[in-house]
Amino acid sequence: MHRFPKLLGGGLLLAFAAHAQTPAADQNALIQQLLHRIDQLESRVTELESARASRPPAAAAISQTSPAQVPPPPAPATHDHGTPIVEAATTTYPNLKLSGFGDINYTASDRPGTHAGFNEGQFILHFSSALSSKVTYFGELSLTARTDAGSGTPAAPGFNPEVERTIIRYDQSDHLKISFGRYHTPVSYWNTQFHHGSWLQTTASRPEMIQFGGSFIPVHFVGALAEGSFAAGGLNLNYNLGLGNGRSSVLSRSGDFGDINNNKAWLATVFIKPDKLYGLQVGGTVYRDKIDATGRPQAQEWIESAHIVWAKENPEFIAEFFNINHAYPGTGLVTNNQSWYAQVGYRLPMAQSWKPYYRYEYIHTPRADAIFSGLNLGLSSSTLGMRWDFSSYAAFKLEYRYQERPGLPNTNVAWAQTSFTF
């Protein structure tokens, strides 16, 4: 019924325009014509409403959104939605849904030894399936182009497949959800918010301290997780409690095949999302592990992190801080490695598909730290870019980066990326 006033408005305005050229004596005739036209429009609206009402019964078939599939509206479509999934009102189990992410990049840098050119980002498949009303499975599989992923000696370039996440979860209630599997460690907001979906993040890439394959924080976590939320007087307190294998013999890898020691890693995360400040999230994590990495001394690792996020787009703001404490048994040596980043973006109000952004990131590792020694993690970097959402499900990002690393020449990097979900 709300469409009726718009139709009526169009009719009235057209009639008004026509009337401006009509002699005064014809006004009554014109009003009659106008009213006749309104009657026609009313009839048309009734006709359309009847046609809509005569569709198949609602309980017989409904559509359900999936990550990249939003069904078309009944009116002529003006957007690029995918095909709807038609299913019965009564949900059947399991109900596997598949979606994906991808990105294609072009980079050019003045770093010695690098070449400008295209490169494939990650090809990501995401699986989700409700196994019952309370049990759900999630999986994330990546295919990543690498110089050494192929066959032969030395290894030829190829694609490296990886099970990034595989999680089975039981939802007891909003207060308690228990899961087992391989996660992105909830020690970082970014790590648990954007995963491998380049399209989801504003920028072309993740901050350096949370890079996949990086060593600064343990990006993956194999084990069990309990999570939930409480209203907490409008603060909306959320928590994660995890127990798992921790880092493996290679710092950047999780203990997928099993633990390398009898010391389990554990973590606790809390964050709030106050009702009165919709969009704000503030929280922190503590993570404890014992490191037994090949070629490095044993160490007890404490990670403390904090984040503050304004999860809107006018502006968007994300900032995280990490302190990684390593204590070396028998030596009394304790080191603190610190890093942080702050990112701001702004969806332009007059050009909604454009979003400029800036990020500064910083990593400091003391020379005395034997765990990160030789990895050259230190960094001071600025990223300035523009995101253009040229479709509802695809974006183009253009970035300039300036990076300073201790002992290395400063570098300038230009990065273009198109990222999408499908």
Binding site: R52, P67, P74, S99
Partner: protein, 188 residues
Amino acid sequence: MKLMDRPALISHKRRNGGAGAPARSAGNRAGACPPQYRQISRLVLLFFILMGLASAAPVAIVVSNDVPVDDLSFAEIRKVFLGERQFWSPKLRVVLLMRAPVAPERDVVLRDIYQMSESQFRQYWISKVFRADVSSGPKIVYSTEMANDLVTAIPGAVAFVDAAQIPKGLKVIRIDGKLPGDKSYPLR
């Protein structure tokens, strides 16, 4: 009100105005719009007023009768629609129904509850599924009738519909103690 009544109303107003209004000077009359334009202008003005009233029609939040909730704060409604509250009770999961794009009720919900554009809304749910917060996004319904039928048929279902088209038997959730039609009801 049928639009056929409007010319009489306007004519009546014009006659009253003509009788009660101070007499205008000849110069003013010469500079004023011709009467036919004034009449059409009033008609157009009336139309826009009515259109404004129509667009401010309240949107009701309806749930299936098995939902053990009658009154929610606006913040709690937001959590339900954001998928942050996923259970009405430990045994009853929230099943969110969303009108398809172009429905005026959807515009109200996106503007007031989500505070998102269509693109942001889509990205929100894609992200939520990808984060493993939920296994799927809201179920899409194409009409008020379909929403009403599904709320009746699916345990735990919640939908938003035009408050003027709620059939008997559906439970309407109070928002901060207010029902659609009450003053300061937030969804309109």
